[in-house]
Structure formats: C-alpha cells, structure tokens
Amino acid sequence: MSPKTLYDKIWDAHVAHEAEDGTCLLYIDRHLVHEVTSPQAFEGLRMANRKVRAPEKTIAVPDHNVPTTTDRANAATMTEDSRIQVEALDKNAKDFGINYYPVSDIRQGIVHIVGPEQGWTLPGMTVVCGDSHTATHGAFGALAHGIGTSEVEHVLATQTLIQKKSKNMKVEITGKLRPGVTAKDITLSVIGATGTAGGTGYVIEYCGEAIRDLSMEGRMTVCNMAIEGGARAGLIAPDEKTFAYIMGRPHAPKGAQWEAAMAWWKTLYSDDDAQWDKVVTLKGEDIAPVVTWGTSPEDVLPITATVPAPQDFTGGKVDAAQRALDYMGLTPGQKLTDIAIDTVFIGSCTNGRIEDLRAAAAILKGKKKKDGLRAMVVPGSGLVRAQAEEEGLAQIFIDAGFEWRMAGCSMCLAMNPDQLAPGERCASTSNRNFEGRQGYKGRTHLVSPAMAAAAAITGHLTDVREMM
C-alpha cells in the first residue's frame, strides 16, 4: 500500500462517491451549527420541503450574537435583529430535531469549544461548520473546516459536501519552546513565515516536538488559526493526550466501542515516507512571544521588535502596510512595547479555554490592571467559566479589575454589544486584526493570553517574560 498522510487517511475513509473528474462527495460525521450562518440554510430546506438527513450528527449552539453580561437572561440585553437570529436557531433546532445547547444551558458556549468539550469531536472524523474557525477541531486529528451557508444547507440535506482533495502541507515545529512562548505564538509565527495565503489549497498537518508537547488546548489554538494562514484545515495526529482528553466526555464512545475506536485512532498518523507537497519547518527555540502590528494576521513580529516601514515590504504589500499603519495609528520605528492600549480582551475560540484562563491568571495573580483600562474575560463556554470559578481563577481576574463574563464569541468579532470604539486600541487573544473587526475603526493587536494579561497590568504592549 502506498504511504499516506493523516489527511489522506481521513479523506479516503469518507469518500461516499467519486466522479470521473475527481469531484467527490465527502461524508460528514459532525455538523456544527450557529445562529449567524444557518438561518438561510434552514429556510432553504423548508422551501424545498427537505429534512435534515442526520439530525443526530448535527449540533447547534448560539454564540456569535449572544450578550456576555450576566444579565443576559433579560431579552432587552440583545438588539432585535440579534434576538431574531437566536430565536430562529431555537426554532430550527426544535423543528429539525437536532442537538441543541440554548443560551440558558450551562454547556452553551463558542461552538468550537463546545464540540470538543462534549466529546462530539473525535479523531478521524470529518467536521464542518459555517464558520472558518472550524479548523480548531483538527487538534484531534479530525478533518475540520469552515463552509458557507449554501454548503451548510447541502450538509443538512445530504450529510455530504462536494469536494476536491487539497494538497498536503507539513508544518514542523522542532525542539522545545522557550519560557513565555505559547501555542498562540507558534500559530502566529507560522502565519508570519508563510503569509495569509501560504496555506491556500492545502491541508496543514502540524507536527514536531513542540507540537507534541502542547496540551489539547494549545493544539486547538494552533489549528484554530490554520485558516488565517489560508489552509483549508489544520491537523495534529492524535496521541495519548488526545485520548485522555476525550475519555469520559458525554458523547465519547464507551466500553467496547471505546476499544474499537482506539484501535482505529491509533492508525491515524502520517506514514514515515508519506509525500508532502510543501514543508515548512520552524525551530521552537526561535519562536518569541509575538504581537501583530497591522491589519492582517501575517503582520506579526516578536514583541521586542519595532513597527516596520512600508518600504520593508514588496509588491502589493507596500501599499497594504501603509494603509495598515494609517489605520493602526502607528509610526515606523516605534517600539512595539511603547504602544499604549485601552482595552484587553481575553476569550474567543482561539484562546477561551481553561488553560488560556490559567495562563492569564498566573500573570495577573495579586496584581491590578492599569487604571482606566477596560479589561474583560469571556470564557469559551459555561463549563469553562464554572471550572475557572472552581479553580479560583475568576476571583483573580475580578481582583485584578477584569469583567468576568458569560460565554460567547463576544469582542472577537463584536456582533454583540462588546465592541471597540473608533480609535480604541485592544490587546486581544482573538484571531483576526482586520479593519473594523472588533468595532468600527477599532485597532486590534493579537497576542497570547499571558501577553494580554501583561499588557493589562502595564497599559501597553509588554514582553510577558519580564513578568515571569
């Protein structure tokens, strides 16, 4: 048998039909649904009198629009259009009989945090969602990617997607990370090295000692931003850490099924002599805590660097860099650590898991945020929130002057009331620093949770290593 990559193996196990030109129907094992990209898809089903083919494999949770203030049970906390979207999801979940975690359920949270937490996401699966950060689930060795609303409707109706296979890309992070360097710094550094289109047309498998050393939470952070590098999906081969994370979760297999699943899961790795279409290698020891300075995730530099000048770039990036500097209100040559911030946001599907909150709390313990700075922690799910309260992390955040919020996407994309004002500058653990992403004319610097905590204390972008 010819050697295969992990992606090849998962792909081959899910082709339900292949046409002569290589167009495949890929069977989908898990379909995650949220309120923003699904209403038109359900409406399409109704208009055509179609059903959801596999409601038991379909999981819905409202996350993008929901308020994260503790008074959110009060309907007045939501704008009318947001409320209509959430109510549409309530109704669609009920009408079509799909698994659902409503806002009032403690298990509610960001769809990409809820899926793994509840054991819906398992190695070797195909997982899709009408959300680009579906790549997160690749941390389990599942082929997971975002789709548009037409494709959401297609999966609801047929449990398949029309696909052509992507190419294989290996991203290897060798050796150990230095202290203060996290999964977020790895994933941003990879995008810095390859660019936001470096992964276009590929599925990335992340491997190497530094990846193996990461917890499942860290691996989810790495895979989450595969899309920011342009890749269709990011993957990490499952190992003992993966199996330990899954075991005992509500929808994980049990008993004899667990044994059968494990037997297959242990075959899910890339063969030694597998063929790669592209290989990128970074040394773990070369990765520093990083921060973005511009309006694309590829605009990333070590925190010790200075703001670049447009002439440091070539081609269309010269104009883009100038536009980014104007938008961000930065001057070439300025030290990144001199950039003062107004807001700190800790949360999102990139960094809203328990380990992220632990990392931020470790820096904040016994300290206070800078006066006048707005700081909020938005746990990725109600269960993350409960666990953080049990571990005493919530109190550390509250004592440091942070707002302790309910679960949701919140200021990552600012569809709910959590937004930046024009010109306001934020150190954010989210995934996109696009123009207007966190609010009209808002300015975003992407960082790790520990770096966000450090910035909250000093009021400017800060090298977290000086606080450790």
Partner: protein, 201 residues
C-alpha cells in the same frame, strides 16, 4: 441560481491585497435571516463615513463604477470569515465576476454557489486588467465562461482555468443539492459501510 455564460461589463479596480470578508460585508450586516438586500452595505466601512454619507474617493461611489459588474482585486481576495454574506452582498450590488491572482478557499467556493465567477489569472494579466478597470466606462472587459477567456479592452484574450464541475453548474445554473440527492443511493451505501466500520461515530 442564475446562469453565468458570458459577461461584458465595466470593472471596478480594487488593487488592495488581502481584502477580507469583514471588509466586503462588516459583521453588523450578518444579523439577517435573508440572503438579499446586502448590496447597499457592500464594503460598508470603506464606502460610507460614520454618518452614512458616501466617501467620494471609494471606487464604487464614483459615477463610472456604480454599475460595475466585475471587480479586479489584489491578491488573496476574500480571506477571513466563511460568511456567504460576502458573495451575497457582491451579487446584490450587481457584481457577477471577480478577477484576482488568488482567493481564500471558502470565499472561492461560496462564489460558485451564488452564480459569481471568481477568475484566477497570473499577476501580469491581472495588472493589464487592473489598468483597464482604471479607465472606467472607457474600457469593457469581456468574460466567456464556456471558452474560459477574459478579453481585455485592447482585444487581448487571456485563458483561465476553472474546475469542470463548477463550470458546468455555473453555466447551467444548477442546484448542487438536487445533484447530490440524485446520488443518495451512494450515500446510503456509504453510511451502512461506515457505521459497521466506525459504529461510535
């Protein structure tokens, strides 16, 4: 979905690289449960000031480009979020084709589901068409999907590649779901086989 076969029209130049879907349609317009009506908010934050007044410098506000049916854009157009609201907004404005050196994967697929043709050409050919686009109404670009050509204003034709299945669907305005449902026997057979092999799924 509307068919796409030939198009001859004015193209609007957007030479910026990495135009993301947040730029194409900002999140405040995703709170809709419909597909239509988004054209007025296409490129909203580049197109209007905070008071809702048009920013005269923005290309789609210039008289020559108000009826543009084609966009010529910088590299990696449509990166970021999976929101299909981006092609819905383009289509609602009247854009039926985009020309660039590259697109983000999800956006690229979403276009085909909505009767929009995203054309990939090498940088030097995109540069020629960008120059044409800058001439506004003085230059029309012609697109022929059947023959896979884009013809610049001076008559030079550039060939582009497109997946045969996607081309077929676009030429005929076909509904993917209907096509897939014709293969439901294959899906049934796969489900039976897969649930025996992986009963825990």
């Amino acid at each position: 979905m509307d068919k796409f076969d030939k198009l001859s029209g004015i193209a609007a130049p957007l030479p910026l690289v990495n135009i993301d879907t947040d730029m194409i349609i900002p999140k405040q317009f995703l709170k809709t449960i419909k597909r239509s009506g988004l054209g007025v908010n296409l490129f909203d934050e580049m197109r209007y000031d905070r008071e809702g007044n048009e920013i005269p410098d923005f290309v789609l506000n210039k008289p020559a480009y108000r009826d543009a049916q084609i966009l010529v854009a910088g590299d990696n157009f449509g990166c970021g979020s999976s929101r299909e609201h981006a092609p819905w907004a383009l289509l609602d404005f009247g854009i039926r084709a985009v020309i660039s050196t590259s697109y983000a994967d999800i956006f690229y697929n979403n276009c085909f589901k909505n009767g929009i043709l995203p054309i990939v050409l090498p940088p030097e050919q995109v540069a020629v068409l960008m120059k044409d686009a800058e001439k506004g109404a003085n230059a029309r670009i012609e697109i022929d999907l059947e023959n896979q050509t884009v013809t610049a204003a001076d008559g030079t034709a550039f060939h582009f590649e497109v997946d045969p299945f996607k081309k077929h669907c676009l030429l005929n305005g076909l509904d993917d779901i209907g096509l897939t449902m014709e293969k439901s026997a294959a899906i049934d057979a796969f489900e039976t086989k897969a649930s025996a092999a992986r009963p825990w799924v």
